[in-house]
Structure formats: structure tokens, C-alpha cells
């Protein structure tokens, strides 16, 4: 599709050109990004289940007798679930009917239910307060067992429902997502994604941040469910325990079907450590599917840096519960706070740097400007997904569709026109 006006790219990266640990740039004399953990993904929303035989993700027999285990996931049902809807399983670790830990939507009352049975004794049954789940709406659920903190169930960041039982996880049985068993056919009809698991006690901040799409850096299993192809759900965490999709499970795509740079929110990034031209005469582009919504901690989504004394950097990040764009010259920095996207929103961010002003455009609209001064004249470095000069786990969880550095400062009209063009190129559900 024809560009709305001539553009000179200094750097341009789109994820359809990832070869192993390199994201190749468009055109010669531009610079590749080296990937650490980051990899090719897609805009898939998650894994789709049809409440039929072999419609599940099997994670294998893991965490037998695990003393502490927490699981976070997001789900969206095809139809509204309430009391009298058929019981639908979301997650199980099940040896048999008498030895199991299971999370399910209960036909008796419509509530999300966490139940643990050992040796035919029901140790606990805890339930959400909410008793109805609207079809087509995303929900988050976090549940855990612990030999010191007991059992907890948090549905969509409501108050935790607890039980004092300290029993470890079942001593056997595969972990199944989306159904009760491999041939169960009693699972959900809908989508599950962002399955994150750990083996410690979560703090209150970590619990809240999981709801907001920021996994703790010590998460053991992170299934981003964005592969979009094949039958493997890759484990991006330290556990390295890939899951297998059953033959009746598939990848769910919405309106957007694109390659992305997939980040795990723990320690992934893409980086170029030198030769990135950064100055007061450019327009930076960041197009992404957002996977977080105002987490409390630091998440560096994109970070351009010259180094030396002073600021000399452009940072798109979440910090302290808000999204901001920071642009700094040698001595003066300007910061724009943005109305943060919610999880699974797409957005087009343009940041312009002139000798005295930075301007931030969100989906074609100027949202903020701030005074800056001149940056040190030097070549710099860039990281997508973490801090540029020293990646340290301030990691983004986003799906990045494009990043670019453009020569010159876009006017407001150019920003609007270019944003519309990007929206059409990627077929994004954004009103501009």
C-alpha cells in the first residue's frame, strides 16, 4: 500500500525477518537487532478450546507434591456462563477423581471454583464471589496452594478467597489446561492465554501485577500462547517445559494476523548496542499489542540511549502504575504521561524530537509535548523490551509489530496520516 508521503527511515524493523537471534533490518546500512530470549510470535489471542475430546494443552506430569504452586491465566468464553451452564474445566492436575487439584466453572452456582481432593477427602473448595462470566469478555484468575500460606483464589482482581489448608499438590497426574483430561470433553469453549506458573508464595504486589500483565521475574513457567502455528505452546520461563496442544485445540486470531516480536515479560529483549543515530531531528515509531495495563513495577517497552552525562535518551515505559514517554537531552528532560492501553489493545506510538521539544502521538493524536534540550551528538544504542545499556529484567510483555527511527520531525498532519497508513497496513482495530 502506497505510503502517504515520502519517508526516510534510519532504521526499520518488522518481525517477519527474524532469523534465529537476529531481527534483520530493512535496507542496507541499517542495523540488526540481536535477540535475547525474544523470538518470533504472532498476534494470536491465545489457544482456542471447543469443549471436545483432545481440546486441551497438556503440560505433562510436573510439580508432583509441589509444596507451593501458583497459576495465573486469562480466559474468554464463547458464551456467557452462569449457574446451570455445564461445568467447564479451566485447569487441572488430576491423578483420578479422588486425587486432584482443579479449577473449573461450576454448574451449581456459576462460580469459578478451586477444589483439592486427596485420598478421597475434599481438602477445600473455594469459590469466586462472581457467579456469571460474560461471553466475549476477558477475565483473569489467579490461584495458589502453599504449605505456609494456604490456598488462595482471586478472580479478576477481586478480594482473595482463602482456605487454611497446607497440603501440597497431587503426587501425580498431568497438568491439563482447558479441560479436565486429555479426552475429557468437559473443558471450556473459549480461549485461554498468558498461562504463568510459579513455585513460591506471591506478594500482594505480585498478585496485583499478574492481573495487570506483569509476571514476576522468578516465574517458572510462562506460556504466552502466541505461537499461532503448530502444536507446541512454548514455555518461556526457567522451567522450559513446553506444552502440547491436543488435536482439537487451535490458535485463536482476532482481526489482526501479523508476525510480532514476542517478549516474555521476564528477561527477553532485542538490542543493538551501537551505531543507532539518535538526535533532535527524528520521529520514533513503536507499534504494539499491549499485554500489560498499568503494572506497579518498571517495564521498559522501548529504550533509545546515547549515554554519557545527562539524559540523552528516549524511553517508553510503565513506571509506578502509569505509562510515560521520557525524552531527555543533555540537561533537560521532558516526560509525557499517556492514557495507558489496556491488555490486548493495539496502539501506534510516534515520538518526535526537535531541538527544544518532544511530542508524543498516540494513534495519530497529539497527546503530550514537553520541553527538552539538545542531546549529545553521538551514536547510541536501542533495546526493545528492556533497558538499553544494561538489560536488567525491567522487561516488557508486549507483542511488537514494528519499531522504526525516521529522519525528521513529523508534523501533526504527518503523524495522523502516517498513523492511519500503519493502521491500514497492519489492519489494526484502532479508530483514527
Amino acid at each position: 500500500m502506497k505510503m502517504p508521503f515520502p519517508v526516510t527511515y534510519r532504521e526499520l524493523w518488522v518481525p517477519g525477518h527474524i532469523n534465529g537471534t537476529q531481527l534483520a533490518p530493512f535496507k542496507a546500512a541499517a542495523h540488526p537487532l540481536t535477540l535475547t530470549g525474544a523470538r518470533l510470535g504472532t498476534t494470536a489471542d491465545g489457544v482456542k478450546f471447543i469443549r471436545g475430546a483432545n481440546s486441551e494443552i497438556s503440560l505433562g506430569v510436573i510439580h508432583n507434591s509441589q509444596a507451593q504452586l501458583w497459576i495465573s491465566l486469562r480466559f474468554k468464553l464463547n458464551q456467557t456462563f452462569a449457574a446451570a451452564s455445564a461445568t467447564a474445566y479451566l485447569w487441572t492436575k488430576r491423578v483420578d477423581a479422588d486425587n486432584r487439584l482443579e479449577l473449573y466453572l461450576d454448574t451449581a452456582d456459576g462460580m469459578i471454583t478451586l477444589q483439592h481432593r486427596e485420598a478421597a477427602v475434599t481438602l477445600f473448595t473455594i469459590k469466586s464471589v462472581a457467579a456469571s462470566w460474560t461471553g466475549g469478555t476477558w477475565y483473569h484468575v489467579l490461584f495458589s496452594i502453599s504449605n505456609t500460606a494456604g490456598a488462595r483464589l482471586i478472580a479478576n482482581n477481586a478480594a482473595a478467597v482463602t482456605n487454611a489448608d497446607l497440603t501440597a499438590a497431587p503426587a501425580g497426574g498431568a497438568i491439563i489446561v482447558g479441560d479436565q483430561a486429555v479426552a475429557g470433553a468437559v473443558g471450556i469453549s473459549g480461549i485461554i492465554t498468558d498461562i504463568i506458573m510459579g513455585t513460591d508464595n506471591l506478594t500482594a504486589t505480585e498478585e496485583d501485577d499478574l492481573y495487570r500483565g506483569d509476571p514476576p521475574n522468578d516465574a517458572v513457567h510462562v506460556y504466552t500462547c502466541d505461537e499461532g502455528r503448530g502444536t507446541t505452546a512454548n514455555d518461556r520461563g526457567s522451567g522450559a517445559n513446553n506444552g502440547t496442544l491436543g488435536s482439537a485445540a487451535s490458535w485463536a486470531f482476532g482481526q489482526v494476523r501479523q508476525s510480532v516480536l514476542s517478549l516474555d515479560g521476564i528477561n527477553d529483549y532485542a538490542r543493538q548496542t551501537a551505531n543507532i543515530q539518535i538526535d533532535n531531528n527524528m520521529t520514533l515509531v513503536y507499534v504494539a499489542k499491549w499485554k500489560c495495563s498499568n503494572p506497579s513495577g518498571l517495564m521498559r517497552h522501548a529504550y533509545w540511549r546515547i549515554g554519557g552525562t545527562g539524559f540523552n535518551r528516549i524511553i517508553i515505559s510503565h513506571s509506578g502504575g502509569s505509562l510515560s514517554v521520557l525524552v531527555g537531552g543533555a540537561a533537560v528532560s521532558g516526560s509525557s504521561s499517556l492514557s495507558a492501553p489496556t491488555i490486548d489493545d493495539y496502539s501506534i506510538l510516534l515520538v518526535t524530537t526537535s531541538p527544544t521539544l518532544e511530542s508524543t502521538y498516540l494513534n495519530g493524536t497529539l497527546v503530550s509535548s514537553a520541553a527538552i534540550d539538545r542531546m549529545l551528538p553521538n551514536l547510541g544504542e536501542l533495546a526493545i523490551g528492556d533497558q538499553a545499556n544494561a538489560p536488567n529484567g525491567e522487561a516488557s510483555f508486549n507483542k511488537v509489530l514494528m519499531a522504526a527511527d525516521i529522519e525528521g520531525v513529523f508534523t501533526a498532519k504527518q503523524a495522523l496520516s502516517y498513523s492511519r497508513w500503519l493502521r491500514d497496513i497492519f489492519n489494526l482495530p484502532i479508530s483514527i
Binding site: 500500500m1 502506497k2 532469523n19 534483520a24 533490518p25 530493512f26 502455528r229 491500514d424
Partner: protein, 146 residues
């Protein structure tokens, strides 16, 4: 309708914009540069392309090798996934991809007419060598229309 009512004008403008876009939908030529090291007495993947967002048409690859030594034999190959097996790369028959042959020093090899990568599929351009290429770098210039 008053003189200040611009609804009809706005409607006409939107229609014109839609027509303009439809008329001007045409593929653009894109160029990507991959760099890396050859694999000593093995096969390296020089280029990897993902056409999830749309068909990549008329893919062409040109490879520059930093300093092929005498006796270096290379064998280029083109692999692609399929709709029925979207994660398995299968070698494609490409008439003009040569069999194993020697490179002169600092050689440029041009591989035209690799064809299209249909929407949703992935492809890789690989190069096998029979040795004597430890430390050799490559630059692969890929053009396609999309």
C-alpha cells in the same frame, strides 16, 4: 440542509479516499539485509522470512560472502512450510538454484526467482558448505514485493 451542513461533503471525501486507496493498492518493493557467519562444514540458515501478514511475491536473494577460499563448495537451498504443516520446513525445487559449486574470493551469488511465499507460510534460504569457511561472514540482500 443549511449552508453550514458539511455532512454531504464529508461523505464524498470519505468515498474519494476509499476509491483512491483501492486504486493505489499496489505492492511495494522491500529490501531486507541479513548478516551472519557461515557454518564451517555445515548448513547455515542465511535468511528467514514469515509471510503471516501477507504474501511475499517474487522473492530474490543475493548473497555476498566475505572471502571464499579455494575449494569451498557451497550448496544453496530454499525451504518453505505449508498450510498442512505450518512448522515443518520442506525443501523446494528451484530450477535455477545451482548444485554444489566453488566460490571465488569475496564472491557474490545471486539467486533470482525463488517465487512467492504465500500468506501464512514461512521460508528459509540455507547454504551448506563443505568446509574451509570458518570465520567467513555473509550478507544476504533479500527483495520481495508486498
Amino acid at each position: 440542509m443549511s449552508i453550514n451542513d458539511t455532512r454531504l461533503l464529508e461523505e464524498l471525501t470519505r468515498d474519494l479516499a476509499a476509491v483512491d486507496q483501492a486504486v493505489n493498492v499496489q505492492p511495494e518493493l522491500k529490501q531486507v539485509v541479513f548478516t551472519g557467519n557461515l557454518s564451517n562444514a555445515g548448513t547455515a540458515t542465511l535468511v528467514a522470512l514469515d509471510a503471516l501478514g501477507g504474501t511475499m511475491r517474487n522473492v530474490k536473494v543475493k548473497v555476498w560472502v566475505s572471502g571464499a577460499t579455494a575449494g569451498l563448495g557451497i550448496t544453496p537451498s530454499w525451504f518453505m512450510t505449508s498450510n498442512t504443516n505450518p512448522v515443518t520446513f520442506v525443501q523446494q525445487t528451484v530450477p535455477n538454484l545451482g548444485a554444489q559449486h566453488a566460490l571465488a574470493a569475496a564472491a557474490i551469488e545471486e539467486y533470482a526467482n525463488l517465487g512467492d511465499i504465500p500468506e501464512g507460510l514461512q521460508a528459509e534460504f540455507r547454504m551448506a558448505s563443505n568446509g574451509n569457511d570458518s570465520g567467513l561472514t555473509y550478507e544476504a540482500y533479500v527483495t520481495y514485493e508486498q
